[in-house]
């Protein structure tokens, strides 16, 4: 009763709206130019936000590099990269221990983590019935979200005493402990992404393989894995980036002693752990401080290279499939 004929009321209104929108009647700042201005402004705002991100990246790189290169005012290039003597109290700033440590730790982590996560991924995408798959995938996703300090703490209180008992060494800190902790950390990431990559292989590939009489193992090994190769590489590099940059968990189990690790159980140090251990104690304008910045820049460079590699692989993967 109140609104017996709604269409009758709306029709003139719509016409009115259309006219003001289209005709741009009289007034200087009417609805049309207002919309136009808003549109423009929103666009510029978005561009500014995007530019801001780029600016931050450039500024970070610039600051780290600018402070980092000051190291070479006092010590030579070769000293930093090829000397393993890091004793700031005696003006010795050899970074080799940490660079070597970072690469060794990453390699060891991948050595353990990649086969394991591939097996998990194959299990998830090939062998498991759908209902179990749907239950397992969220669990892996949850594992990704656990803060690294929790992993580090577990490493310190559970893993290290275990290593001490099993190997009979006195300490247990070292590359092995750090690599095991990192493995647990990167495992969910690598296996989830590999799982997606394997699942994305078209069903006709495996169907054809089975039709030709191949066993399940042959199908996985000769068809699925090669087809999902670029996706798996992508997962591995993401895991690698996390292993290189991880700080909190590593610092708790690596021992933090600036010496080259010639054994898996010898306390050593990596770029990230050394920076976080020392940065709060270092005088502002000292070679020591600059050397720490240089290490930060190196880390940044390594992870940037990895991201570039990931992008490249992604693009190649798209072209192939």
């Amino acid at each position: 009763m109140l609104d017996s004929n709604p269409a009758a009321g709306k029709a003139p209104l719509r016409a009115e709206l259309g006219r003001t929108l289209l005709a741009g009647s009289g007034k200087k700042f009417d609805r049309r130019s207002r919309l136009f201005a808003m549109n423009r402004m929103f666009r510029y705002l978005c561009i500014a936000a995007a530019a801001f991100v780029c600016l931050i990246l450039v500024l970070i790189l610039f600051l780290m590099l600018r402070t980092g290169v000051l190291t070479f005012n006092h010590i030579s290039f070769a000293d930093f990269f090829f000397s393993s003597d890091w004793t700031p109290e005696n003006e010795q700033y050899g970074g080799l221990v940490f660079i070597f440590g970072t690469f060794a730790l990453t390699a060891l982590t991948l050595l353990i983590a990649v086969p394991l996560s591939l097996m998990i991924a194959i299990f998830l995408s090939v062998f498991v019935p759908t209902w179990l798959k749907n239950a397992l995938r969220p669990i892996l996703d949850l594992l990704v979200g656990i803060p690294s300090v929790v992993y580090g703490y577990l490493g310190l209180t559970v893993l290290i005493p275990l290593i001490r008992d099993v190997t009979g060494t006195g300490m247990g800190d070292g590359l092995l402990a750090a690599a095991l902790v990192l493995t647990i950390m990167v495992l969910p990431t690598v296996s989830r992404i590999s799982d997606d990559a394997i699942s994305a292989v078209p069903a006709k590939f495996s169907d054809a393989s089975y039709a030709l009489g191949a066993t399940r193992f042959q199908t996985v090994w000769k068809v699925l894995l090669p087809s999902a190769k670029s996706g798996i590489m992508y997962a591995v590099i993401l895991g690698m980036a996390r292993a290189v940059g991880e700080t909190m968990a590593v610092v708790m189990v690596i021992g933090n002693t600036p010496q080259i690790a010639d054994s898996l159980l010898k306390p050593t140090s990596v770029l990230t752990s050394n920076i976080v251990m020392q940065i709060s104690n270092v005088p502002f304008d000292s070679t020591w401080n600059y050397a720490l910045y240089l290490m930060g820049f190196l880390l940044l460079l390594i992870s940037l290279l990895m991201i570039v590699a990931v992008r490249w692989l992604q693009r190649r993967g798209e072209r192939v499939s």
Binding site: P88, T157, G170, M171, N256, P267, N281, F284
Partner: protein
């Protein structure tokens, strides 16, 4: 009901007037802003003092934060902070750190340090010579110092720690630490040191006496147990002063704050409760 309203208003006015009068009486004329930076070992003391001081002088704003000892005098030099808390006298050279020109050191507390070992270690009475040997890496097995046959695990603080500077100076009499070895590791904070000593069998390290728990053993040095009483009577030598550094002589609120921390009331009250030793006890 009119009389009721009037009475309420009158009472409100009276209460407000009275409270504002008392507030004015309590507020001292002292005002200003004090920023305190530096040693984390001294932070509990600084925070406690700041709370008490703010009650006496509500117009003074104090903000305190802590990182490594060295950040204290550095922040003072840069003008970021008025007071830099540090575990050694930063107006003099110490091993590894140059003196800060133009800064004045104010003693605020006595901090005793103790060498600590894991509970499974039986050699709990060491001489200065033995400590020097252990921390320089020359003595590698507990049986060399009267313990059982087991490797010594040495846990050290990173270079730059104020506790390390003091321990090296007072307990090791300036001899160098080892820098590498299979059974040597460095930790970042006193808390990390505590958990490392508690959980690692055959480990030795050192920390503020206040951090020592009953899950570890504080070692006797030259037959003297590390207790407050032994520090005060002069038998136990491994202790240092905590300092507040200022740029030149302090003025205004900063001066009053340091005076408050050094006052007998604070030194014998809150400071003792936080397990520091009053500076007056050492004279």
């Amino acid at each position: 009901m009119k009389w009721f309203k009037q009475l309420t208003i009158a009472m409100l006015v009276a209460v407000i007037g009275f409270s504002s009068v008392t507030a004015v009486q309590a507020a001292s004329k002292l005002s200003g802003k004090i920023v305190i930076n530096g040693s984390s070992a001294l932070l509990p003391l600084t925070l406690q003092a700041a709370n008490e001081f703010k009650k006496l002088h509500p117009k003074v704003k104090i903000s305190a934060s802590a990182a490594g000892s060295i950040t204290g005098p550095q922040a003072v030099r840069k003008g970021i902070a008025q007071i830099g808390a540090v575990d050694w006298d930063a107006s003099k050279d110490v091993p590894g750190f140059k003196k800060f020109e133009g800064q004045v050191a104010h003693k605020v507390a006595v901090i005793p340090f103790a060498a600590v070992v894991n509970k499974n270690v039986t050699a709990t009475n060491l001489t200065t010579k033995q400590l020097q040997g252990i921390f320089s890496g020359k003595i590698k097995n507990w049986k060399e110092v009267g313990g059982k046959d087991a490797d010594i695990i040495v846990v050290n603080r990173t270079f730059g720690s104020g506790t390390r500077v003091n321990f090296q100076d007072k307990a090791l009499q300036g001899t160098d630490f080892m820098t590498k070895g299979d059974n040597y590791k460095e930790v970042k904070t006193s808390g990390d040191m505590k958990s490392a000593i508690e959980t690692t069998p055959n480990a030795i390290g050192y920390m503020d006496l206040a951090y020592v728990t009953d899950k570890m053993v504080a070692v006797k040095i030259n037959d003297i147990a590390p207790t407050e009483a032994n520090v005060i009577n002069g038998k136990y030598k491994v202790w240092g002063y905590g300092y507040y550094m200022t740029k030149g002589e302090p003025t205004g609120a900063t001066k009053e704050f340091i005076k408050y921390v050094q006052s007998t009331k604070f030194q014998n009250g809150s400071l003792k409760k936080l397990k520091f030793i009053p500076i007056s006890a050492m004279k």
